[in-house]
């Protein structure tokens, strides 16, 4: 019974990883860009949400139930930061140099943005972890002897709905078709009338939105935010993305859940210290044995923008 409980916990923890992993896989599959600001965007949403809820919202909107609004503003902040990152990492990076490390250029500037955003948050909010004044986390439901926290269940449902919507968008809308065209062959796509300058920001907006949502859900579910919260989640989301397969949305979903399960089962069997080895070991083994992951296809990195 305890094992079943751990598996359910793993699923619930996994839903946060899934959201961040989907954000990673979206930028990688479409732009061939490993965006290291994603964990920071996640942290920005949580910390800005906390700051607004703690220090009070502007325009006298503060009240006992102001935290959802604060989190929404936090999510908005994360979208804005993401667009800022697009403006300075991706827009000017159209391969000027015939250089095989050129995919490194946006990656390195995203590392720069990681330093900027994380340290700005540290300067303004301090580096301690803070208690988020969300709903009480004692709301639990008992289903056949298994305890499930209601907020976690709700966020799991929200995440799954969002990903269904995202898959539909990528498949059936004009924007989604444009994005897939760019992923496959940017030159041909731009000849055929897809404008990279107008459609690439969409990817970053989605990234910011996903990270904002993940940050908000994390703050509500765990009731604690800190400037370091992105590192742990980010690394597990990367692991989930690789295990599931780079560039596949459902792969990221499966990978995030697998990482959540691995984490909970490792804690159950070996203790908390072994989690890092287990998660990163799973990533390393996947890369060595099956680089395309469980559901990925090996076309990533062919198309360049």
């Amino acid at each position: 019974m305890l094992l079943v409980q751990q598996i359910v916990n793993g699923l619930m923890v996994g839903s946060v990883y899934v959201t961040v992993a989907v954000a990673f896989t979206l930028t990688i599959s479409i732009l061939n860009f490993l965006n290291f600001t994603i964990p920071t965007l996640f942290m920005v949403a949580g910390m800005v949400g906390w700051g607004l809820a703690y220090f009070g919202l502007p325009f006298g909107l503060s009240g006992p139930l102001a935290w959802p609004l604060a989190l929404a503003v936090g999510g908005l902040a994360s979208v804005l930061c993401s667009l800022l990152v697009e403006r300075f990492t991706f827009r000017y990076m159209r391969t000027r140099h015939g250089d095989s490390t050129e995919h490194a250029i946006p990656l390195v500037s995203s590392l720069g943005f990681l330093l900027i955003l994380e340290n700005l948050i540290r300067i303004f909010y301090g580096s301690d972890s803070q208690r988020f004044p969300g709903p009480s986390s004692d709301l639990t439901a008992q289903i056949g002897g298994i305890f499930v926290r209601i907020p976690q269940l709700v966020s799991f449902a929200i995440v799954m709905l969002l990903i269904l919507g995202l898959v539909w968008m990528m498949k059936s809308t004009r924007i989604g078709r444009g994005l897939r065209a760019i992923a496959e062959n940017p030159d041909a796509a731009s000849i055929l009338g897809v404008e990279p300058n107008r459609i690439v920001p969409v990817v970053f907006m989605l990234t910011g939105l996903l990270c904002g949502l993940a940050g908000a859900l994390f703050a509500v579910n765990y009731g604690e935010v800190s400037p370091q919260m992105g590192e742990d989640i980010g690394s597990k989301a990367i692991a989930g993305m690789v295990v599931g397969g780079l560039g596949s949305l459902w792969g990221a979903v499966a990978g995030g859940i697998i990482v959540g399960l691995v984490e909970m089962l490792t804690i159950h069997f070996f203790g908390a210290d072994a989690v890092q080895v287990a998660v990163w070991g799973a990533l390393l083994v996947t890369l060595l044995m099956r680089p395309q992951g469980l559901f990925g296809h090996n076309a990533i990195g062919k198309g360049k923008l």
Binding site: F88, L114, N119, A274, W280, G281, L287
Partner: protein
């Protein structure tokens, strides 16, 4: 020399050795984001040999190079099948696994760390930095250096021309791992204590930034990058409070001003990184710059300028 400057010179020398270790991988077009893992292996092998086995310095430091080089070699064979983003992730995962294993290993002190009995003074790290620089300059000036450059610029064409691309990449990666291990060994003895929290992912990121912002085209790049990013933050430590006083006096605030947060230095590093990538993504020192500086009075023919304009 004051203790302050000795400390700075020691860390500068260690950073230069470390940066050269990453440079050798980057020079073949492989981004190695696992630097902290290799430095940790070097530091812990030196610390363990020194503390538990009572080995002298002239055993522990070569051992740190050898152990890390061998592990790098064994790791490079499978991992260098990967390219681009996959390789970055693979090396990053490697560093995390190394750190995770060290935390869980009681023989290496776990999260507590290991004290190292032998202390080395600043001349030893400086000598290490000089040796590492000489090795890199020598390699890049030989035929192997030419091959490395060819593999970096276009691996498919180099393969067609008969270069064993995989072998070159594995060799340079392993050699680089050895140098990163040397920096770890020097670190262990210079600070007489190793702690696994030092070798975090931020360290891997910083050392890669030293190399890429310094410029990976010539062996001057890592040295300039490491020196710049070690010394400038130290200068900023004194300069930032003065800047804040100046800014505040513009707004009419006089007298005592609380010193600004330490984190501003890292914000500035981030801003410099982003601006460098926008305006000079090849890094501070390029091949062109080195050529121009080494022949300051040579008149450049119109042909050469045209070529530069194209490049």
């Amino acid at each position: 020399m004051s203790g302050y400057w000795i400390g700075i010179i020691t860390i500068l020398a260690i950073n230069i050795v470390f940066a050269y270790g990453i440079f050798l991988a980057v020079a073949t077009g492989q981004l190695n984001l696992g630097g902290a893992g290799f430095q940790a292996i070097g530091a812990y092998s030196a610390a363990w040999l020194s503390a538990e086995m009572g080995m002298p310095l002239y055993v522990t430091i070569p051992a740190s190079i050898l152990v890390t080089g061998l592990i790098g070699f064994a790791f490079a064979f499978p991992i260098l099948r990967l390219k681009g983003v996959y390789l970055v992730l693979g090396t990053f995962a490697f560093a995390e696994v190394v750190v995770g294993i060290i935390i869980n290993s009681d023989a290496l002190g776990g999260a507590m760390g290991l004290p190292v009995p032998d202390y080395i003074d600043w001349p030893v790290p400086v000598a290490g930095a000089v040796v590492a620089a000489l090795i890199c300059f020598y390699i890049m000036s030989t035929r192997l250096g030419l091959v490395v450059r060819a593999v970096h610029d276009d691996d498919v064409v180099s393969d067609l021309m008969g270069v064993d691309v995989r072998m070159v990449r594995v060799a340079m990666f392993a050699l680089g791992a050895g140098l990163a291990g040397l920096s770890g060994g020097l670190y262990a003895h210079a600070y007489t204590y190793v702690e696994v929290q030092t070798f975090n992912s931020a360290l891997s990121i910083y050392v890669l930034l030293y190399v890429l912002l310094g410029g990976a085209q010539t062996p001057w790049g890592p040295m300039v990058g490491a020196a710049f990013f070690t010394l400038v933050p130290e200068l900023l430590r004194n300069l930032l409070p003065q800047m804040k006083v100046a800014v505040m006096s513009v707004f009419g605030v006089e007298g005592a001003v609380t010193p600004p947060d330490e984190s501003w230095r890292f914000v500035l590093l981030g801003v410099v990184t982003v601006l460098m990538m926008v305006f000079r993504s090849e890094g501070l020192v390029t091949r062109q710059l080195v050529e121009r500086l080494s022949h300051p009075f040579r008149r450049r023919s119109s042909n050469a300028t045209q070529k530069e304009a194209e490049a």
